[in-house]
C-alpha cells in the first residue's frame, strides 16, 4: 500500500517538477511547483515526518508560494515563453550535463543506496517512533531544537529578522 502511495506521490512530484521547468508562464510553473511541494509533503508523511509535512504545506506551499504569486502578479509577468527558455545548443549542453549528473547520482544511489547509510535503520526508526510516542509529533522535533540546537535556532531567527528588514529596504521604492 505504502509503495503504491509513494509511487503516486513520486509521479506527481516529478511531473510537477518538469512542469516548473517547462511551464509556459510563471503562474503555470508556480502551480506545478505547488503540486510538487504537496506531493513531497505526502512523502514526508510516509516517512513519519508529520510535523514537517504540515509545515511544508502550510509554510512552503501556502505562504512562500503565495508570496511568489503576489510578486508575479505585482510585476505582471509574462507570456513570453519563447524568450524565456534557452533553446538550441545551450539546452542540449545543459541536458548533457544534467543527464551526466543524474547518471552519477543514479550510479551512486544504486551502487550504495540504503546499504551505504551508516547506522541501523530499524533501530533509528524505532527510536524516533518511541520519541514521537512519548512527546508527540511536535515535541519530538521541538525538544532537540530548543536544547541541543538552540543556538542554531536563535541564529535562524536572527536570519529571518535580517531577511525581513532587507526585504523591506530592497523592495521599498526610492523616493
Amino acid at each position: 500500500m505504502t509503495e503504491i502511495v509513494f509511487v503516486l506521490f513520486a509521479v506527481v512530484a516529478v511531473g510537477g517538477a518538469i512542469g516548473v521547468v517547462v511551464g509556459r508562464s510563471p503562474v503555470a510553473s508556480l502551480l506545478s511547483m505547488i503540486a510538487t511541494l504537496a506531493s513531497v509533503a505526502g512523502i514526508y508523511v510516509l516517512f513519519e515526518a508529520h510535523f514537517l509535512a504540515a509545515i511544508q504545506v502550510l509554510v512552503y506551499a501556502g505562504a512562500i508560494m503565495v508570496l511568489f504569486l503576489f510578486v508575479i502578479m505585482l510585476l505582471n509577468l509574462g507570456h513570453d515563453y519563447r524568450a524565456d527558455v534557452k533553446y538550441g545548443l545551450w539546452y542540449l549542453l545543459s541536458l548533457v550535463v544534467v543527464g551526466l549528473t543524474a547518471g552519477a547520482l543514479l550510479q551512486g544511489f544504486m551502487g550504495t543506496g540504503a546499504t551505504g547509510v551508516r547506522g541501523d535503520g530499524a533501530a533509528a526508526a524505532a527510536a524516533i517512533d518511541a520519541v514521537v510516542a512519548e512527546k508527540g509529533v511536535v515535541g519530538a522535533i521541538a525538544d532537540p531544537l530548543f536544547t541541543d540546537y538552540v543556538v542554531a535556532f536563535e541564529l535562524t531567527g536572527l536570519l529571518l529578522l535580517v531577511a525581513i528588514v532587507a526585504a523591506v529596504v530592497l523592495a521599498k521604492p526610492r523616493t
Partner: protein, 739 residues
C-alpha cells in the same frame, strides 16, 4: 649609548698610545730580545697620532670653511678654486696645524733615530690594542720600530714636513686650504701606519689608507671632471694590486697562522722550500700589490693621470713616499723574495721593463709634470730592479735619494707652475700652464728654482757626487754582480737587465736635461702678456727647495760603497760614512742576503763586463755627463713653438711614445669597455630578461589562468549554474566512479 662605547674605545686607544704595553718581539731569539728591551723608543704612537690629530683638527676647520663657501655657492656665486681666501682665518690655523704636527712628528722621529742602538737586532714592537682577533687569527694594532721602518719614518716625516711647508705657499690662494691640509695630514698618518705596522694586516691598513688619500688628493679639485676621473682611476688600479696583497696575506696566513712580520720571517726559511710554489705565489701576489701601489707595468697607468692633483701632492705622494711603498714592502719581505728566485727575476724584470718603458715615454712628453711622473715610474722601476736582484739596501737607498731629488723636482715644477699660473691669468687666450712648450727661458725669472732643479737633475742623472749617482750606480752594479754570481739560474737574464738598466740611466739623463732646457733655457715662449707676471716663488716655497737641494747633493753620501770609498767617488777616503746605510739595514736584510748567497753563491765583485766597480762608476758618471751635455746641445738647438701652434710629434714611433705606447687605449678597449659591456649585458639580459622574465612568466601564468577562469563569469545566472553543476559533476563523478 653607542656613542659612549665609541668614546670608550677611543679613550682606550688613546690611553694605549700614550702608555703602550711593551710586548715581546715575535718568537725570535731571547738574547736579542734583551737587547731590544734596553732601548725604549720615545712615544712612537704619538708620531703616528700627531698627523691624525692634524687631520681631525683640519678636518673640522675644513667642514667649517666649506660650510661658508657652500653658502656662497647656494647664493649663486661661481666656484673658483683660486678665488683667494674668502676668509683668511680659515688659513691661519691650518697653516699652524698642518706643518706643525709634521714638524713635531719629525722631531720625535729624529729623537728616536738618535736613540736607536745600531746593534738592535730585533724590532721593537709596541702593541696598542687587539684589532682583529678570533680563535685562529690575531691581528694587533701594533707598531714596529726597526732600522728599515726608521729610515722610512724619517723620509716620510722629513720630506713630508718640507712639502707641507711648501704647500703653505703653493696653496695660499685655494679656498679648500684646510681640507687640503686635512687630507695631507691623513695621508702622512696612513703612510706612517704603512711603514710602522708590525704585520701585513696593519701594513694593509696604511696601504689602502694612502690609496684613499691619494684618491682624495688627486681629485682634490673635484669639480673638474678630468681630475676626479684621475682619482677614481688611481683608486681602482690600486685596488687591483690590493687584491694581490690580500691574497698573499691569505696564503701567508694559511702557512704561518699569523700575519705578523716577526714569526713569518723567522719561520719562512724553515717552513717554505726555496723556490717552492707557495713562496713564489706569495711573492708574486705581493708584487702585484706593489705594482699597483708603485705604478709598475702593467699597472702604471694611473700615476701619470695622478698628476691632476696639486703639485705638492705629486711630490709627496706620487714621488717621495706612497709610490715607494711597494719597494718598502718588497724590501720588508726580503726573506720571502730571497726564497723565491723566480719571483725575484720577475720583480727585477718588471722593474727594468717599467724603467725602460717609462723612460721612453718621458722623452716625448711636453707636460712638465708628466715628464716627472714618467721619470718617477722609471726610477721606481730601478728600485724594483734592485729589490729583484736582492739588493734590498740599494732599493731603499735609491728610495731615499729619490725621495729627495724627485720631491725637489716636483716642488720645483710646482714653483714653475705656480708662476706660470699667474702668467696664464694675464695671457691672451688659453695658456696651458704645465706645457713646457709654453715655457723656456724661465731661468732668468726664477733663478733659485732653476739652480735647485739643476741640482736635482744632475742627481737623478747619476752625476757624481750627487745623491743619485751613488744609489743608481749601486743598483746597476748589484745587477751585474748577481748576474755573475756562481749559480744564479737567471744569470743571463740578469745581464740583460743590467744592460737595459744602463741604457735607461742614460735616457734618464737625456729626458731630464730636455725638461730643464725646455723650461729654463732658450727663448721664452709664454707670450708678452704673461711673461711680465712670471716671478720667483716666495720664500716659504724656496726654502724647502733649498733644503731638498742640499739633501740631493749630500744624501748619497750615507752609503758610499766600500769599493769606491778610496777612489774619487769617496773623495779618496774623506767621506766618513762608508756603506752606512748598508750596515744600518743589516739586521733587516741579512737573512735575505744569507739565503741568496746560499742559493746563488757570492756576488761576482768584478763581474760587470769590462772591469770592476770603480771603473764602471767612472764610466757611468762620464756617460751620464756626456748625455747631459749632448742633450743640452741637441734640445737647446731645437726650435719649440708654443703649444697652441705646435702640431704635435711626427712619425709613427714618436707618436706612439707621445701617446704612452697606447697603454690607456689598449686597456680601454680590452678591459674597460668589455667590462662595461658585460655589466650592461648582465643587467639588460640576465637580470631583466632571463631572471625577471622567468619571474614575470610565473606571474603571467597565474594571471592568464585567472583570466581564463574569469571568462566564465559572464554575469548570467544560467552560466553560473552550468559551471557550478559542471564542478559538482566532476566531484560527484570522482566520488562515485573513482572509489
Amino acid at each position: 649609548m653607542t656613542g659612549v662605547g665609541t668614546a670608550e674605545s677611543a679613550m682606550t686607544a688613546l690611553a694605549g698610545v700614550l702608555s703602550p704595553s711593551p710586548s715581546a718581539p715575535g718568537s725570535a731569539s731571547g738574547v736579542a730580545a734583551q737587547a731590544a728591551e734596553q732601548w725604549e723608543p720615545l712615544l712612537p704612537g704619538l708620531i703616528v697620532l700627531l698627523p691624525l690629530l692634524g687631520f681631525v683638527l683640519n678636518g673640522i676647520l675644513a667642514l667649517w670653511a666649506a660650510g661658508h663657501s657652500s653658502a656662497a655657492v647656494r647664493a649663486g656665486e661661481e666656484w673658483n678654486p683660486f678665488a683667494g681666501p674668502s676668509r683668511p682665518r680659515t688659513h691661519t690655523l691650518p697653516t699652524l696645524i698642518g706643518p706643525g704636527v709634521m714638524l713635531l712628528a719629525f722631531i720625535l722621529a729624529l729623537v728616536n733615530f738618535a736613540g736607536m742602538p745600531a746593534d738592535l737586532h730585533d724590532p721593537v714592537i709596541r702593541t696598542y690594542w687587539s684589532w682583529i682577533a678570533t680563535d685562529t687569527i690575531s691581528v694587533d694594532a701594533a707598531l714596529q720600530l726597526d732600522q728599515l721602518s726608521m729610515v722610512m719614518m724619517l723620509v716620510v716625516t722629513g720630506v713630508g714636513f718640507l712639502i707641507h711647508v711648501f704647500s703653505v705657499g703653493y696653496m695660499k690662494d685655494d679656498q679648500g686650504y684646510p681640507r687640503y691640509f686635512a687630507y695631507l695630514n691623513l695621508f702622512v698618518f696612513f703612510m706612517l701606519v704603512l711603514v710602522l705596522g708590525s704585520g701585513y694586516a696593519t701594513m694593509f691598513v696604511g696601504w689602502e689608507g694612502v690609496g684613499l688619500c691619494s684618491y682624495l688628493l688627486i681629485g682634490y679639485w673635484f669639480s673638474d671632471r678630468d681630475k676626479s676621473d684621475a682619482g677614481k682611476k688611481a683608486f681602482i688600479v690600486n685596488r687591483i694590486g690590493d687584491v694581490g696583497f690580500l691574497l698573499a696575506m691569505f696564503l701567508l696566513f694559511n702557512n704561518f697562522g699569523t700575519l705578523d712580520f716577526g714569526p713569518i720571517f723567522a719561520g719562512a726559511e724553515g717552513q717554505l722550500a726555496v723556490g717552492g710554489t707557495t713562496v713564489t705565489a706569495v711573492t708574486l701576489l705581493l708584487m702585484l700589490g706593489a705594482a699597483g701601489k708603485s705604478a709598475q707595468v702593467p699597472l702604471h697607468v694611473w700615476l701619470p693621470d695622478a698628476m691632476a692633483g696639486p703639485t705638492p701632492v705629486s711630490a709627496l705622494i706620487h714621488a717621495a713616499t706612497m709610490v715607494t711603498a711597494g719597494v718598502y714592502m718588497v724590501a720588508r719581505s726580503s726573506v720571502l723574495y730571497a726564497l723565491a728566485p723566480t719571483s725575484q727575476a720577475v720583480v727585477a724584470g718588471i722593474g727594468v721593463l717599467t724603467a725602460l718603458v717609462a723612460a721612453t715615454i718621458a722623452m716625448q712628453q711636453y707636460d712638465i709634470k708628466k715628464v716627472l711622473a714618467y721619470s718617477t715610474v722609471s726610477q721606481l722601476g730601478f728600485m724594483f730592479l734592485a729589490a729583484g736582484v736582492g739588493a734590498f739596501t740599494a732599493a731603499i737607498f735609491h728610495l731615499v735619494t729619490h725621495a729627495f731629488f724627485k720631491a725637489l723636482l716636483f716642488l720645483g715644477a710646482g714653483a714653475v707652475i705656480h708662476s706660470m699660473h699667474h702668467a696664464a691669468h694675464h695671457a691672451d687666450g688659453h695658456l696651458d700652464e704645465q706645457d713646457m712648450r709654453n715655457m723656456g727661458g724661465l731661468g732668468k725669472f726664477m733663478p733659485v728654482t732653476c739652480v735647485v732643479m739643476w741640482i736635482a737633475t744632475l742627481a737623478i742623472a747619476g752625476i757624481w757626487p750627487f745623491a743619485g749617482f751613488f744609489s743608481k750606480d749601486e743598483i746597476i752594479w748589484y745587477t751585474a754582480a748577481w748576474a755573475g754570481a756562481g749559480s744564479n739560474p737567471f744569470g743571463t737574464l740578469y745581464t740583460v737587465y743590467w744592460a737595459v738598466a744602463l741604457a735607461t740611466a742614460l735616457m734618464t739623463a737625456f729626458y731630464m736635461t730636455r725638461l730643464m732646457v725646455m723650461t729654463f733655457h732658450g727663448a721664452n715662449r709664454t707670450g708678452a702678456a704673461g711673461r711680465s707676471h712670471i716671478h720667483e716663488a716666495p720664500r716659504v716655497m724656496t726654502v724647502p727647495l733649498i733644503v731638498l737641494a742640499l739633501l740631493s747633493v749630500f744624501g748619497g753620501w750615507i752609503n758610499v760603497p766600500d769599493a769606491l770609498q778610496e777612489s774619487f767617488a769617496g773623495l779618496f777616503g774623506v767621506l766618513p760614512m762608508s756603506e752606512w746605510l748598508h750596515h744600518w739595514l743589516e739586521p733587516v736584510t741579512h737573512a735575505a742576503a744569507q739565503i741568496q748567497i746560499a742559493g746563488f753563491g757570492e756576488p761576482a765583485h768584478a763581474a760587470p763586463p769590462g772591469g770592476g766597480e770603480v771603473a764602471w762608476a767612472m764610466i757611468s758618471t762620464l756617460a751620464a755627463a756626456v748625455t747631459v751635455a749632448v742633450a743640452y746641445r741637441v734640445v737647446g738647438t731645437n726650435k719649440y713653438v708654443p703649444a697652441a701652434r705646435d702640431p704635435g710629434p711626427a712619425g709613427v714611433l714618436r707618436r706612439a711614445v707621445y701617446n704612452k705606447w697606447y697603454f690607456d687605449e689598449v686597456y680601454d678597449s680590452l678591459v674597460v669597455r668589455p667590462l662595461l659591456a658585460a655589466s650592461r649585458w648582465c643587467w639588460k639580459v640576465i637580470d631583466t630578461v632571463v631572471i625577471d622574465g622567468f619571474v614575470n612568466l610565473t606571474g603571467s601564468f597565474a594571471r592568464l589562468s585567472g583570466w581564463t577562469m574569469s571568462l566564465f563569469q559572464t554575469g548570467q545566472v544560467n552560466m553560473y549554474a552550468f559551471v557550478l553543476t559542471l564542478g559538482v559533476l566532476c566531484v560527484l563523478g570522482a566520488a562515485v566512479f573513482l572509489q
